[in-house]
Structure formats: C-alpha cells, structure tokens
C-alpha cells in the first residue's frame, strides 16, 4: 500500500508540474521530518500534509514522515492528530532535502472530545443530554464474554449484573431504574449505527421436570476486544432520537477502526484458571450424623463423608487470543481482527467457545475525497456446552440443587466404582445428572454493514447505512434414560430418555439515510443538524423436534432422533409475523459561541406491531445547556476548568412485545386443529416514557478533577402487559396485549467523579467513581399482578413478588416471619394468612469505583462495583435445604449452627425468613501489568499482565453470589432478586501478554 502511494504521488505531481512549477522543470527534493509529543514520544499515525500540493502521509512508528520528489516551492506543512493541537509550519523546498520536526501539544481540553450520539458524532462540549462514555482503556478486564460486562460499574445510573456464573450467560442491565412490566427491560444496543433487536438465536430444549436452562447473552457475538468505546445515553434528550425503542436507555458501541499509517498488528494472548468464588454451607458427613442424633432419627446415615458440590466442580481453564491488523492510508484504512475464546466453566462439562472474525474499512474516493464508504463485517460463532442448571426445576431439582442436597453420608459411587443411581428415587446423583445430560448449542452471527457517504460540501453530508444481521442457532439436547429423573427414567413401562433438536434463523435488515448539516448560520451561532429516515425489518423462524423413549442405545439420542417411540415424537415450527419499523427523525443542536446550547429532537416511529389505531408515534425532546465556564465572569476563575449546566425533557417509548400482538391470531396444532393464540387489540401502542433531567458537568484544577451530577425523574405509562381477558373467557383463552393504566416512577441522583490525583513522569494515579441513588414506585395501577414464581416441594404455584400501586416494582409480598415458636414451628404475622410488603429487590444505590496506579512500567488497575439496599429472596435455602430434608437429603448449615431446634415437621412455606440483604461491594477485577517495551527489532509495546476477577466480595448474603438474578417470570411479567440454585460465580486468575508488531 505504501508502494502505491509513492507511485501515485509521484505521477500526480508530475502532471501538475505544468501548472505549478516555478523553477527548473521537474526539480524535486525530499521533504521529511518527525512528529513527537512534548515528552519526546513518537506520535504514530499523525496525518502530515503538504497543504498546497494536497500531499498527505502518516507518521510511522518512529514518528517519521517523508515526501519524496517535492517540487521546489513554498508550502504549508501541517501535522494533525486527534487529541493534539494541529500545527502548521511554512517550509521552503529547494533542491536539497529539507527536514522539519514537529512537537505537538496534547489537546487537554476534554471539551473537544468527540462523543458518539445517535446518528452522528457530537463534541462533548455540545452535549446537552446525560451521556456516559467509557473508552477502551477504562473497560473492565478479565475473561469477558460480552460487551455489557466491559462497562459494569463504570457508568452512573447503570445497573449491570451477571445473572449467574454461567460462562457467556445473560445479564440484567437497567438504566435509571426498573420500568418493564413485561419484556427484558434491557436498553437498545446500537453497534456502529446498526440497531440490534436483542434476540438470541439459541433454540429452546425439551424441559420437563428439569426445567429451562437460562439463555445466554445475546451480545456475545461482539468481540469485546474490537470495541473502541461505549456510550450510554441515559436521559430522554439523548435517547429520543431512537424513539419507540429507547425508553430503557441506549448503549452505543463503536468498534475500533483502522488507523492510517504503517501496518500495525496488535496481539493479546491470555490464559488462566477459574474456580468457585464462594460456596453455600451445607453439612458434611459428620455434622449430618450429629444432626440425625439430635433429632433422634435412625435412618439416613450411610457411613460415608462426601462433598457432592466439590464433585461436580472443577478448576476451569480459559484462554483467549486476539490479533488485529490495522493500517492503510488516510484515504483507505482498514482493520481486520480474529479472535478465539474458550472458557471451561467451573461446573464440569460446561464450556463456552467463541470464534470471531471482523473486518472494517473506511475508504475515501474521488480526488475531492467527498465520496466515502465505511464498511464492516463481523462473523462470529459461539459454541456452548450447557450444564443441566435451570431456573425453574421442581422437586427433583437441577444440578446445583441436587449437589447441595445430596446426603453427605452417602457415596456417589458404588463399591465397584460405577455411579450410584437409585432407580425410582427422587434423589438424583449430581454426577449422574452431569453424565446423563448433553446439551450443545451453536449460534452463528453474521453482521455486515455498508455505509456510503457523500460530503456535498463542508457543511452538508449525506450518508446511507445498509446492514444485515443473520443469526443461526442450533441446539441438540438429550437426557439419558438411566438417570432417575421424573419423566426420563426408564423402567418396566417405558424405555425412558428424552432428546430434542432445534434450529432458529433470525434476520434483521436495516436501511438508514441521514443528511448531516453542520454550519455557522449566524454570527457565532452554529447549527448541527441531522435529518433521517430509517427502515428496519425483523424476521424470525425456527423448527423444533423432540422425542422420548430411546432407552440405553449406544449412540447419542440426537444423532438418532428416529430411535424413540412414534407416539412420543413431536415436531413443530414457527415463523413469526413479519416486523417492520419505519421512522423519520430530526435533530438540531444550536450552539451559540459554545456558551448556550439548545438541542431539539423529534422522531416519528411507525411499527407493524402497533395496533391499527396507533400505527405511528411521535417522540420529541428538548434540552438546553449553559456552558457557564465560557462566560466572562468565570473565565478567570482558575481552579474551575469546566462548568456546564444542563436540563432536558423528552418522550421515548418501548415496544418490546412480540410481533402479531395487536391482531387475532390462531395457530395450527395436531391434525390441523386451530387454537387461539392471541386476542387482538387495535389500540395497542408503545409503552410511553417521559423523562426530565437536570445535570451539572464540572471540572476543577485544570481538569484534574471532573465530574457530573444528574437528577432525573422518569414516568412510564401505557404499561405493556399480556393481560388475560376478563372472565368469562374461553378455556385456555389467549392473552390480549394491553397498555395498562398506571405509572411507574423512577427518580434518582447520579454522581460521577474522575480524579487525576498524581500525574508525574514516573507515577500516575487516577481514580474514578460513580454513585447513583434510586427510588422506584408504582402508582395508579388497578389490580395487583403477581410474579416471582417459586418451584419446589411445598412451593408450587406460589408467587412472592407483586406489581401493585404504592409499592416498588417486584415488591416482595409474602408472609412476615416472626421466628420459631416453642415447638419449633414457624410463627408468622396473622398466622401467615395475610401477606405483607417485606422486601424490595430494587437497589437504593449503585456504586462503582476504580483506581489506576502506574509507576514506571508497572500499572495496577482495580475496579469495584456494587449495589446497596436491595433484598434477595434465597429460594435455594427455602426449597432445597429445609430441615424436613433431614434423613433423606442434606440441609443448610444454619440449622446445625443455630441454637434452636426447629421442628422436623415445620412445613416449607415462602416467607420473609428467606429474604436477605443483598447489598454488596465486589472487587470485580484487578490487573497488574508491566510494560516491557520493545523487544528486539520487531516486537513493540510488549506488556505482561495478571488479571483476577471476582476477587473480593463484601456482603451479608449467604448464597453463592450477591450478584444474582434468576428469571422467575409469570405470564410475561419478569421478576427480580430471586436466587434459585443457579450456576455459581467463579473467581479467575489470568496471565497474559500483549504486543504489537
């Protein structure tokens, strides 16, 4: 590429000779030099240009640049690099080589930092909304599998927790509180302008008594190593441009682009080991025998001493390698990357493997460089081997429950070494469960985008973005017949065993046209506007086959699906109603002398999902900002480097409901029998969100200390909910999607601070922190909606959370436990017949803190995050480890440690006894790295690092982890803060190296 550039420039200048030559025909010389910063570091990639000749090149890895055969003359030599103040020098080129050295000064003003907003980039100083930007260097480190983990604890107002310790598992991301009465409540993710639909193409599996394995993270197809920055748009003035999908906030992901200059190869290799972070205390063999004696029970002691949880866990190895190639010229930049990640989960047999390839290019065409194309392609495949850990296992439990409740005096093996499986018993050997269960899923994602643009002139640019995302998921699940699981076990009546195979295809197409206008329209008044049209189309379809009664055949059931019984076969397929979105949007930012800013946006969204009477919605927003620092009276206040006051208001919407929800729908079943699937609602519309935000951005002591304070108030109305029709209704009647009358209020304060405490040549110490205070309430809602469905013996069909007026969302509403009475039975308020509001799973505060110290070549980064004031319902303790298990299964250690003798006959019931304080602070990850520097001639910037994740957990909660959210939804209404035998969290230690070539 460099060759071509040389030829090009040589020939070009030859042609222009006749116009521009002043001296001897074809007299040329070498013009060269270097670009360094104020501490002597070479500034690779600086764009150096000879302005009049329209020659341009980039500074190489040593900061050197050169132009050959520059005709004699007087020119302006310009050096430009983002983050540095552009410099120009006048040079006179004669026949002798000329050298110029640039020393560029960093542009410390953070105000010039560019922030990606919807559909355009805006200078940070022009921002009037509440946006948190997290750049690659601030991301969380460790064996990260999806992008949302990168910003955990980094942005105020954002609660991000991993639902469990499952590798690649799902996460709960809530921006500024909970307001989802249905759906996931997750924000809208936009990757390089392509909006994702948040779906995961992994198919389901036949559940039965075992339950449903939780889904994995739909964002796992993005390689975190390819991400340059993530912007979280929080208030309505920033998100309204995304209209009816923006109510839960928007996260913009910008991937790394090629940098012009010499070919640069960056590689990172890391490997490490993970082990269980924390265990739940149950009894060991001797303690169990003692308890049996205490209760005078004669049965239940089998003589052994076994730790069943230990038996199913292992030290899991993980490895990750990423290589990225980037380079090109100013006009043709590219970046290509390949990545491989393999994580063995701490539960035996579980595994997460990811293959990634990405390519993106930025090309400018025509001599005027007015026409350009940005393109990108991401190809990714995620392969998972899933463990039999589910969210809703019944009496027989799923793996973790089976391991915790395994009788510790009973060996897991027979004397001959084979696994001990007790036919017909409800006690399932956890090692047997692992051996009998085989669940593999492969999800392939291809995301391609093509975006040509044309700069009509300096202030007008047209851009088109076309993208396709194709996801294909395949899943094969089988449970062998020899395991004594209800419905699976083979016996005299049935061969036993179950298997299923599923395949899904999800396609998303997007077409966006935007026109960008950025010009000074009046003296001092700048208008930055964007107008656009967007069209999106979603298509989902899939097939599913299952069978039973395979018996103990030699092959995996999914490889011989036909070997089951004919009567147990089931096949089905689906093709969701088409879903299209058509929108028009406009945003204008008025900027008067960088002092007064006014932003207005409007988006008109139409969706096929809305009912006929409400096909289109309008989502306006307004915000204003006052850069007080620019005012004359503050100009001379030296300790204040930045002070900006912001205020905004806007309306957004949410449309997370299935396509076809607004119309009557009937589905076909066996023999062509039609059943009603959905009752239509022609008035169905988006869920509306109205938000007001007031904020202050400030900077002190020359930006050594910067921060933001935001106050927000969100009202969510027209609550989407799949209501069961009022009685009388048909047997098995289908739901009707309704916008409920009622309001969900979320109010809070966000504080974010960054401090550069020490900044010398040798030592630097930066800290950053954020604190968010939240309050959530439901108002004016008629009726009460139950959620938080519990499972297990004595708990079937019980719900412990409600959505009801006057209480927070998912308020825990159950019996009030008062203690044990003299006979060892539970005592409740009003004898347990009345339920009370006894717990709140919504946090009162979110905290995040990070510190980054470097001394000479060493650097230590530590990231803390946590939530305060939230409750967790410990359903594991409630359902799986109750005292009544004594004699057959294991019990919680709390009974052994407690002074009180709880009655063996005390029935299992949900109550506030199992509500624990879930507040926690975690040292989520810490990295110690050493910058070796250059090694030999080829290896540059070698650094070695050690990273640990989940290192410290400070909490009163007694479960595996306080960062937990098991999905216990009822009729589409999600739940919060329930812990039920989920995949335990792991602590990892990784060693890695990174270098460039």
């Amino acid at each position: 590429m460099l060759q071509f550039h040389r030829i090009f420039s040589r020939l070009f200048c030859f042609c222009l000779l006749s116009i521009f030559s002043q001296s001897n025909l074809c007299a040329q010389a070498l013009l060269g030099g270097s670009v360094k910063d104020n501490v002597g570091k070479a500034l690779v990639g600086t764009s150096v240009s000879v302005v009049e000749l329209k020659l341009a090149t980039s500074a190489d890895k040593d900061g050197n640049f050169s132009f050959t055969n520059v005709p004699a003359g007087r020119y302006t030599l310009q050096a430009k690099l983002l983050g540095y103040i552009t410099q120009e020098k006048i040079v006179v080129v004669g026949s002798a080589p000329k050298t110029e050295h640039f020393v560029l000064n960093p542009n410390d003003e953070q105000l010039e930092e560019v922030v990606v907003m919807g559909y355009a980039s805006v200078k940070k100083s022009d921002l009037t909304g509440a946006v948190s930007k997290v750049s690659a260097e601030d991301f969380n480190k460790g064996p990260i599998t999806s992008p949302d983990q990168l910003i955990q604890g980094k942005a105020s107002g954002v609660q991000m927790i991993n639902n469990s310790g499952q590798p690649g598992g799902g996460s709960t991301v809530k921006i500024r509180g909970t307001s989802a009465v249905t759906g996931s409540g997750q924000p809208l993710y936009v990757v390089d302008g392509v909006a994702l639909d948040g779906s995961n193409a992994r198919p389901g599996a036949v559940g039965g008594e075992l339950g449903t394995v939780p889904p994995s993270n739909p964002l796992a197809f993005i390689n975190p190593n390819d991400i340059e920055s993530m912007e979280v748009l929080k208030d309505a003035s920033a998100t309204a441009i995304y209209g009816s999908r923006a109510a839960y906030g928007v996260v913009l992901i910008t991937t790394k682009r090629g940098k012009s200059g010499a070919l640069r190869i960056d590689a990172t290799l890391t490997g490490g080991v993970s082990s269980i972070m924390r265990k739940v205390d149950v009894l060991d063999g001797d303690q169990y025998r003692e308890m049996l004696a205490r209760y005078g029970l004669s049965l239940g002691d089998y003589g052994d001493n076994v730790d069943a949880l230990d038996a199913i866990l292992r030290d899991g190895f993980n490895t990750q390698s990423d290589v990225a190639f980037s380079g090109g010229s100013e006009d043709a930049r590219f970046r290509a990357s390949v990545g491989y990640q393999n994580q063995d989960g701490i539960v035996k047999t579980s595994n997460f493997e990811k293959f990634n390839g990405a390519f993106n290019g930025n090309f400018k065409m025509l001599e005027s460089k007015k026409l350009g194309v940005d393109m990108g392609l991401v190809v990714n495949q995620v392969k998972e081997r899933l463990a039999p850990i589910t969210t809703n296992a019944g009496f027989y439990g799923s793996l973790i429950g089976q391991a915790l409740s395994w009788n510790p005096t009973r060996s897991l093996y027979n004397p001959d070494g084979t696994l001990f499986i007790e036919q017909g018993s409800f006690m399932v050997n956890p090692l047997g469960m692992l051996g009998a269960y085989n669940d593999q899923s492969t999800v392939t994602n291809i995301l391609g985008n093509f975006s040509p643009y044309y700069k009509v002139n300096d202030w007008l640019e047209y851009r088109m973005l076309g993208s396709i995302k194709y996801a294909n998921g395949n899943r094969r699940t089988s449970t062998r017949s020899w395991i004594n699981m209800l419905g699976i076990e083979g016996n005299a009546n049935t061969r036993g065993g179950a298997a299923s195979v599923g395949a899904n295809e999800f396609t998303t197409t997007q077409m966006t046209h935007t026109l960008n206008f950025n010009k000074e329209i009046w003296d001092g008044l700048n208008l930055n506007a964007v107008a656009g049209y967007e069209y999106m189309r979603f298509e989902n379809r899939g097939t599913f086959m299952s069978g039973r009664e395979y018996g103990d055949i030699d092959v995996d059931y999914t490889d011989a699906l036909q070997a089951g019984s004919q009567g147990s076969r089931s096949i089905s397929s689906f093709n969701n109603p088409s879903s299209e979105l058509q929108s028009y949007f406009f945003r204008a930012i008025f900027n008067y002398r960088s002092r007064y800013l006014l932003t207005g946006t409007i988006r008109r969204d139409g969706s096929t999902k809305f009912g006929v009477n409400n096909k289109y919605g309008n989502f306006p927003s307004f915000s204003a900002a006052w850069n007080i620092k620019e005012e004359a009276f503050l100009k001379n206040v030296s300790f204040l480097s930045d002070l900006k006051l912001r205020a905004g208001w806007g309306k957004t919407g949410n449309q997370e409901f299935p396509s076809g929800a607004a119309v009557d729908r009937y589905g076909y079943g066996l023999n062509g029998v039609l059943t009603s699937l959905n009752n239509g609602n022609p008035d169905l519309k988006w869920q509306s969100d109205e938000q007001t935000n007031i904020g202050v951005d400030f900077g002190l002591f020359n930006s050594r200390l910067t921060g933001t304070i935001d106050l927000f108030s969100k009202q969510t109305t027209d609550l989407l909910y799949p209501r069961v029709p009022y009685y009388p209704n048909s047997p098995g009647t289908a739901i009707v999607w309704t916008n409920l009358e009622g309001v969900i209020q979320n109010r809070g304060v966000e504080l974010a601070l960054q401090g550069k405490l020490i900044q010398t040549d040798e030592i630097s110490w930066n800290i950053g922190g954020n604190l968010t205070l939240l309050r959530n309430r439901v108002r004016d809602l008629e009726g009460s909606y139950n959620t938080g469905l519990l499972n297990g013996q004595g708990l079937s069909n019980t719900t412990i959370e409600v959505v009801r007026s006057g209480l927070p969302m998912f308020a825990m509403f159950t019996r009030d436990y008062l203690g044990l009475d003299a006979n060892g039975f539970s005592e409740y308020a009003d004898e347990g017949y009345t339920y009370y509001y006894v717990g709140n799973p919504n946090p009162k505060a979110l905290v995040g803190f990070s510190t980054d110290i470097s001394y000479k070549g060493f650097s230590l980064v530590a990231n803390f995050n946590g939530t305060l004031g939230n409750d967790i319902y410990n359903e594991t303790e409630n359902a799986v480890l109750a005292i009544g298990n004594l004699g057959t299964r294991n019990i919680s250690r709390s009974y052994y440690d407690s002074g009180q003798m709880e009655s063996f006959a005390n029935p299992i019931a949900p109550s506030s006894r199992y509500i624990e304080d879930g507040s926690y602070i975690k040292l989520a990850n810490a990295t110690l790295s050493y910058r070796v520097g250059d090694l030999g001639a080829n290896i540059k910037n070698l650094n070695v690092f050690v990273t640990g994740t989940n290192l410290l957990l400070f909490t009163k909660y007694s479960g595996f982890d306080a960062e937990i959210n098991v999905e216990k939804s009822v009729g589409g209404l999600p739940s919060a803060g329930i812990d039920y035998i989920a995949y335990p969290s792991s602590r990892t230690f990784n060693l890695g190296i990174g270098f460039s070539l």
Binding site: M464, Q582, G660, V663, G667, N729, S730, N797, Y833
Partner: protein, 360 residues
C-alpha cells in the same frame, strides 16, 4: 484502472496531461452523482412501506372456517369436567369451607403454602389459588356455552348449551354472589358486565323456563327437561338465601313452585330410588335409576379426574395408593344415624380385592 489513465496522460506529455486530468475530475464527479442517484433510487425503492403485518406461521380469525356445533356441544360437556370432576375444584370450595371435610397439613405434606388451611379456616387472600382458579374455570364453561350460540346451532343444541351455561352460572352465583357475562359474539378483549343476585335469579328463571319445552330427553349424560326442572327447583329453593345471605326469607310461592316441579319429576315415573345408595357411584352407574343429570366417563378411553375422589382420602400404602389428603370430622360422621348406608362398609369388587371400604 486509474494507473492506465495516468500512463496515458504521461505519454501524451504534460500539456495534454493537464486537460486529461481536468476532464477526469469532472467525469469523476459525474460518476459520483450517478452512483449516488442509483443508490438513492435503490434504497428508497426497497425501503418505504405501508407497515402491514404479515402473519406467517399463523392465521387470523377470518380463516377459522365453520365449526361443527355438535362437536362444540360435545366439547362443552367435556369442559364441565374441569370444575366438577375431582375434589380440587368446586367440591373443595363447597366441602372444605363448610366443615364437612378437612384438609390437614402433616409436616410438609399438604402444606401447599397454606392454601388448604386457608380454605378451611376462611382466611383466604383475595388471590387465593383455588378460589381464583374455580371462578375462572366455571366462567370458561359459561363462555364456551355462549360462544357455541354463534355457530348456528339447531334448537336442541342451543337449548342444551343454555342449560349448561345456566348450570355453571347458578354455581357462580351461589359461590360468589355475582355473575360476569358476555353476549354471544362479544369480543373477549373488553370489559364484561356483571349481574347481581336479583338480576341473575331472574335471568336464570327465564332461561330455564324458555328451554324447558325445547329440550328433549336423551339420557342423563345430556341436558334434559328433568334436569332443567331440577335446576329451577334449586333456584327457587335457594332464592331467599341468594338474595339475602345474612337474614334469608323464603317465599311461600317459591316453595310451592319447588314442590310443583318436584312432583313433575317424580310423577313422570322415569326415576326411582335405588336400594343400594352406592349404586349411584359404581362403575356401571349409568344403569342407576336415580341419575337425572350426570357427567359421562368411559374408563380407559375418555374420562375425567374421578379417581381423585377416591385417592384423596386413601393412604399411600393402600392399594391402589392414595394421596393421603382430605378427611372428615367426627361431628359430620355422627350426623348419620347408626345403620345409615352412607356410613359405609364393605363393597364387593373393592373390599375383597383391595381392602378398601366404601363410605365414611
């Protein structure tokens, strides 16, 4: 391609190179404009849409086709199994709340989050699982009967459906004191309307009196005129209670009507009391001369949840094994005189085979 152009201009010399490069510039611009317009045309042509939702794997109401009213009617009788067959539903709400049966909690067994105890002790919450569930299932039968009327049934079929609806609506009125309803073809999406006791009694009386002459007698498994008379009897007998539960007063004319209807049934000669009380519950009870209206089951082929009536009282270690659930109180047992058949005893085909007695 670019390279060749430059070579050409080079060969021609600097002067011509000049104009060549200039024209290359303007043609380049033209190309860009054409490329652009083509893009615009392509993208807009593909994009703008009417936003019509296409159902792919599913269909909407218009394609349901005509349903067979007789099949729907057969199905309607089957839906009655939900609330009436088995001790978990309407039986539980009647017997467990009236102290005739008791669902004790033994350890963790039958604790079920206190659901059963709450019924017995009258301490239920407003979303009690059984109370809500039975309300829903009784109303679903009422809805199914109403819906059947939209499929052009003949007179007999319509009369049978209206009887079934009246039957369940009487129980809804008896249990909850008010009855929600919808008219045929009314959308299930909106609010339903509610009849209070007085209006509902009047409605039921009209319904039953209208269908009485239409119904023909096709056996006890289907609605028949005697069943309608029986339901009318029950209506008039309980009318005073339904209107004022605290202080009921019973009209003499209503009682006369009860007697008149009873005389009609007795006088028809179609029914007589069995000598063996338990013949009404035997496996061949379709031969019993006492049954006026009953729910049909065919063992092994097409049956509801009848076995649970037995299993709820028997123990796990009995044969066949039971659920060790409900029992009764000595007060109830003592109300039956010494020598009353219903107190129970042995039963051929049961006690000699499984050791289980009949009755209390």
């Amino acid at each position: 391609m670019k390279k060749s152009r430059y070579f050409k201009s080079h060969a021609l010399g600097c002067g011509t190179g000049n104009s060549a490069s200039l024209s290359k510039q303007s043609s380049g611009r033209k190309n860009a404009i054409y490329f652009f317009l083509a893009l615009l045309h392509l993208s807009f042509g593909v994009a703008c849409t009417d936003l019509n939702e296409e159902l792919r794997g599913e269909t909407n109401r218009g394609n349901l086709g005509s349903a067979n009213p007789q099949a729907l009617l057969d199905g309607l009788y089957l839906t009655m199994r939900g609330p009436y067959q088995g001790p978990w539903s309407w039986w539980a709400l009647q017997q467990l709340t009236s102290d005739e049966a008791i669902p004790p909690t033994r350890g963790g067994d039958w604790a079920d989050n206190g659901a059963w105890r709450a019924l017995y002790l009258h301490r239920w919450q407003l979303d009690h699982t059984t109370i809500d569930g039975v309300f829903r299932v009784l109303n679903s039968v009422s809805y199914a009967a109403t819906d059947l009327l939209t499929f052009s049934p003949n007179e007999q079929q319509a009369a049978e459906a209206r009887f079934v609806r009246a039957y369940v609506q009487f129980d809804i009125l008896s249990g909850w004191g008010q009855v929600p309803y919808r008219e045929p073809a009314e959308s299930v999406v909106g609010l339903s309307r509610v009849r209070q006791a007085e209006e509902q009694i009047e409605y039921l009386r009209n319904e039953l009196q209208e269908i009485l002459p239409i119904l023909s007698n096709n056996g006890s498994a289907r609605a028949n005129p005697d069943a309608a008379r029986y339901l009318l009897m029950k209506l008039f007998l309980n009318k005073g209670m339904l209107l004022n539960r605290a202080n009921p007063t019973f009209d003499a004319t209503d009682m006369d009507e009860v007697i008149r209807l009873a005389d009609e049934i007795i006088g028809s000669g179609r029914y007589s009391l069995e000598d063996d009380y338990f013949a009404n519950f035997a496996v061949d009870n379709h031969n019993s001369s006492e049954l006026i209206f009953a729910s049909a089951n065919a063992a092994g082929e097409n049956a509801g949840g009848l076995s649970n009536f037995w299993r709820v009282t028997t123990h796990m270690h009995m044969n066949p094994s039971g659920l060790n659930g409900f029992t009764t109180l000595s007060d109830v047992y003592d109300r039956f005189e010494e020598g009353d058949q219903r107190r129970g005893g042995t039963y051929p085909g049961m006690t000699d085979v499984a050791g289980v007695h009949i009755g209390f």
